[in-house]
């Protein structure tokens, strides 16, 4: 098991090398002139050249990549050409906010999607099934940013129940930073007042984020449950008198969930890169907002950094999913 994990982690290296090369190349091949911006509005050509030199942008692409790759290993992820802050430092500031949002959304999606999919499969072709199909198609079709705007309009502006945007009230200090995830920090430090506030802020963006994974998980769960329900062992279990509840919630659920797990993993990775719009709408200080700002200023080091960060998490989450899949599925040997 441990050897398996180590081997998988080792496999991460070529993926990251490939990913960094790919993104680095794309970034460098694109037109655009961030140097000019970094040099300031009144820069002379000499200033521009000096900035280009400072960031190594005057060197051949391959040399630039080599510098970048070796820097990565030393923990130097480059510097934002715009703010001149180290990218790694920024990532460590923004990542927890995004992780918190994505985790909350996934927890919602899994907690609702799995039972909903199970029920849809059990009541296949009857009204609960049609309802869940229509709702999930609707949820997939709803642009997250539009939904976010509607939420703001309804729950924050008109009803005034929940905060409009942000992670925490400005004039209050957030719970002491342990993980950077405010809700968890609040729990760890036993500050339930802060937990309540953090959850209020989390609610709308997390719900807006959760809809499309919720819909997909429901559909996947429905499909895999239907498949499992047609398996011979379910007939055997019924033939030997096991109760409907026991068959469904014990024997069928475990099989169906392990089939749905892959989708959950993929979606988790996908959501990490998909928070851009929701973060924009809710002014949520996470990776998406950071990436958007970098994109708008064509600041490539942060973009490459965000991409690598998300890519790494994507691979790690999939490793985790494979491990859980192995736990749920004894036929899979993790070696």
């Amino acid at each position: 098991m441990i050897r398996y994990i180590l081997r998988r982690l080792l496999l991460l290296v070529p993926v990251l090398v490939g990913l960094s090369m790919l993104v680095f190349t794309i970034a460098r091949l694109l037109p655009g002139d961030p140097v000019r911006l970094a040099a300031g509005p009144n820069a002379t050509p000499a200033d521009i050249a000096s900035v280009a030199k400072e960031f190594g942008l005057d060197r051949p692409l391959l040399a630039q990549y080599w510098d970048y790759a070796t820097g990565l290993l030393r923990g130097d992820w480059g510097v934002s050409i715009f703010s001149r802050r180290p990218v790694l430092e920024d990532l460590s500031t923004y990542l927890p906010a995004t992780l918190e949002l994505v985790l909350a959304a996934m927890i919602l999606a899994v907690a609702i999607g799995i039972p909903a999919g199970l029920m849809a499969a059990v009541y296949r072709d009857r009204w609960p099934d049609f309802l869940s199909r229509a709702v999930s198609l609707g949820a997939i079709s709803m642009p997250r940013f539009f939904l976010g705007l509607l939420f703001q309009l309804g729950f924050a502006m008109w009803l005034g129940w929940l905060p409009l945007s942000g992670r925490f009230p400005l004039t209050e200090d957030p719970p002491s930073a342990i993980t950077g995830l405010l809700t968890i920090d609040a729990l760890l430090s036993g500050n339930f007042h802060a937990l309540g506030i953090a959850l209020q802020h989390l609610a709308l963006p997390a719900i807006a984020m959760s809809l499309s994974p919720l819909a997909t998980i429901t559909r996947m769960m429905r499909a895999s449950t239907i498949e499992v329900l047609q398996q011979d062992y379910v007939t055997t279990e019924r033939a030997l008198g096991l109760s409907r509840g026991k068959i469904l919630f014990k024997y069928v659920l475990k099989n169906a969930v392990s089939a749905t797990l892959t989708v959950i993993g993929l979606y988790f990775g996908w959501l990490l890169g998909g928070t851009v719009l929701v973060e924009t709408v809710f002014d949520w200080p996470g990776l998406g907002l950071y990436a958007t700002q970098a994109v708008l200023t064509q600041d490539f080091m942060p973009i490459i950094g965000v991409t690598l960060c998300i890519g790494t998490l994507f691979v790690l989450v999939n490793l985790l999913v494979d491990l859980v899949y192995g736990l749920l599925n004894p036929r899979v040997r993790l070696r």
Partner: protein
Amino acid sequence: MTDMTRRGILAGSAAAAALLLVGEGAMAQSRRILVLTSNQDIPNFDPHLASGYSTAWMMRNVYDSLVRVEGNPPKPAPLLAESWTISPDGTEYVFKLNPAARFNDGSPVDAAAVVYSFERILRLNRGNVWMIAGIVKPGSIEAVDAQTVRFRLATAFVPFLQVLPWIWIVNPRQVEANKGSDDGQAWLRANVAGSGAFAVRRAEPGNLYELERVAGNWRQGGGNLTGAIWKITRETATQRLMIQRGEAQIALDLTSEDMDTLKNRPGVDLLIEPEYRTFQIKMNTRHGATMDANLRRAISCAFNYQAMLDVAGYADLMTGPLPESIDGFDKTLQPWRTDLARAKEFLARSAHPNGGIKLTITHVSGLEQQRRWALVLLDSLRALNIELEIRSAIWPDLVASCRSPETLSDFFPVYQTANYGDADNLAYAGYHSSRNGNWQNPVYSNPKVDALITSARAEADPEKRRALYAEFQRTVMEDACDIFGVLERRKLALRNTVKGFAFTPVASNAPELFPLSLG
């Protein structure tokens, strides 16, 4: 190194937070924190790299400069310098420093610190250095004694006192101690070595910056604020809602529609004041169809100024290159106004008497007001049978396109904000050919205009200066190098709990915290 200090700040605030939890209610009472919402981040705390109003806000509160600016019209007032004398030819300035001035680490703000700071900004050659570039040369500043600094200017520069608020004085001891290989840039990026009344308490890049009043600062008195938060709020609608809900006390980037919505809301004060922030649509005088002055004149006559004003909301139409309120504005100037018959006359004299051409405008993507004006231009040009292609680009690309007449679009809309209340600021930056290739004046070049600007900036006699500027304005108008647009009024919304706010038409969106109180 820098990581550690940044983490230090965070850890400090965490500890403070833990303390706060103990006596939350009681302490919240004594905290008076002003929240400002703006859409601009503060990317860097180095005062000598700073540009942009967000950074200016932080710098003017955590650092001090020789003089500050106050009043309307703006006037220089003492800060670190208690008094100053100017030589008759306007090239020598001697400042007497306030002996009470102390950096926040307790060391005195002396002449050496002033020299060090000016030398450093000149050496780095970035940020606000352009305000004194060519005027203050390295080595020309002299610490006469601990309290006296003498500047020998390379050339007379009338608005010198006006630019000084934007050159901040750093603590040489702290910077030298953390100098590194880059003149302390890495350290100053996240640390403050100043004498300002406020210090950084919490920094969450891209989200918020919190300042707190320094207990033992050399300046005492002022308002009752214990701290302030610069909250980055990218949507103006959100800024407005925060003011409405009392979550913020000052909103800095509101649109005219936002102001209309906030009108008559209880607890909200609106401030709509003229400021030196001009908007023009520059035309490419060196490339393409717009090289033709008659075409430019035709366009200037065809443009729908009223529609421009309508979509701008709280703004005034400009008459020429200079705002009416600035000293040197020529009241007899005849503005270009919508007159289709005249436009057609000019068009008939141009190389394209029947139109039938296609021009392009490139505006800053995401700037809603510019997008609207581009739409107005598109609509106006149709009367001349000229098609308009509207493009948007990010600011760096636009800046890059200014490098040569070939890469510049036919129309280039641009805002100019006066950093100092003098006609020279707008005239020199916007129309002097030495600025060609630069976004403020990408292509326009007229030797006569250059000569007028150069003589005016060194002319000490106000009457002669006004005459020079009048001539400058007439020439530029005749050239029709720009569509002279609007002067947008500064639109601020404040909760009525904010006391002590006095409007100054310079950098009013980066207010000084020292005099402010929350009631």
